[in-house]
Symmetry: C2
Subunit: 232 residues, 2 copies
């Protein structure tokens, strides 16, 4: 399969790019600039593309982001600290973001005559993001089969959809993903903050996978506090 990988520069999608580059034919990385505040990760997507020697396209959909107000990922609302599981993290939901990015990716894939679009949505996202669930992935594939009937036959490849983030860390290690060259923090500072939902999730995933986390966190111990509070 000639696959186009949607790559944000985060741990999940960079791991996916390495997996696809090994198992299939990786034809390029596709990133989206939707006005996210942690734009820093796009630089890590570019580095990944260079490392894997494939083209990197960044699609500018900032004006879409501007029209989807009400989300902390694009607005000037403070990003809450803590674990994803907390209700406060709900404000990081961008309405319909995955559907929008996947639809654009299928258009780009059709233009490039690709056979597959690969996405790193994973099980850990299910409980907050409905557009990361297996039923959504299946429904999206069906929709695309109708949308491109007679023009293109493109598979939506989502190998992590039933995996936890810890599983992805294990998978990423298997394909020699340089985790230090990936970005998760929602706050986008010089170092990973260690306190926001994605930092806590990242740190915990390495712990659960039993793999050393090479990430340089500002607050390297907050995650333990966060997951203890969660389970209390």
């Amino acid at each position: 399969m000639n696959a186009l990988v949607i790559c944000s520069g985060g741990l999940d999608s960079v791991s996916l790019a390495h997996k696809v580059a090994t198992e299939q034919k990786l034809i390029g990385l596709l990133s989206f600039d939707y006005g996210q505040r942690h734009k820093k990760e796009l630089g890590f997507a570019a580095i990944c593309a260079k490392r894997l020697a494939v083209p990197h396209q960044i699609v500018d959909i900032r004006d879409v982001g501007r029209n989807l107000s009400g989300s902390a990922l694009t607005d000037n609302v403070d990003v809450p600290d803590g674990h994803y599981a907390e209700d406060s993290m709900r404000i990081t939901v961008v309405p319909n973001r995955n559907a929008i990015m996947l639809a654009i990716a299928f258009g780009v894939a059709a233009a490039k005559k690709a056979d597959a679009v690969a996405t790193a949505v994973h099980g850990g996202d299910h409980f907050i993001y409905p557009d990361c669930r297996p039923a959504f992935i299946d429904a999206f594939q069906t929709m695309q089969n109708h949308a491109l009937a007679g023009y293109a036959d493109i598979r939506l490849y989502a190998p992590y959809v039933n995996m936890s983030k810890a599983d992805i860390v294990s998978e990423g290690a298997k394909y020699a993903t340089p985790f230090e060259a990936t970005w998760s923090c929602y706050k986008g500072g010089a170092r990973h903050c260690g306190r926001c939902g994605t930092c806590v999730e990242r740190r915990e995933a390495f712990d659960l996978a039993g793999i050393t986390d090479p990430t340089d966190y500002e607050d390297a111990d907050f995650w333990l506090h966060a997951i203890q509070t969660r389970s209390a």
Copy 2:
């Protein structure tokens, strides 16, 4: 229903806006700038919004258009003359355009707490555009139900999906749509050219509906030649 209407400024979507404004609660018009050459029609969408006293949002997705190369609607490829039915019109297909615009519209609708997204896709488009067919509309609704589960419940309203363009002209007349304030021509000149696929389709639709076409065409008679050639 609080409905957001996707409105290009063309005959179909302006007619739809008038229908929705009469039958439901129209909360706004949404247009897309995808780098189309006939941008002139967006001005007619703005005029329609003003006439119906609702907000008009134009979402800039030009960079998406740039990434979907190979289509005459966005590239510097000559737009062919003639009727849609001709194979030559196939080059006006923008891969996945409807899926992309609808996905963005659902995101905007969710942000605005709308109950419905209305689209003017119609039966006349079926034979070339797979993403204008009833099966696509149904699959898109199912996909969105999964994507927004727990966040929003938004209906995809496509009342013209089984209608011909002539039916839309009849419907538009019923809701007092000012057809002269709509734009169809792919060439985007000062007047409708009368020769491109959409001009021919427009002129023929008025004829079939038995309604006087108020459009000012540069070549007002070409359509007869085009449809005779088609049926020959």
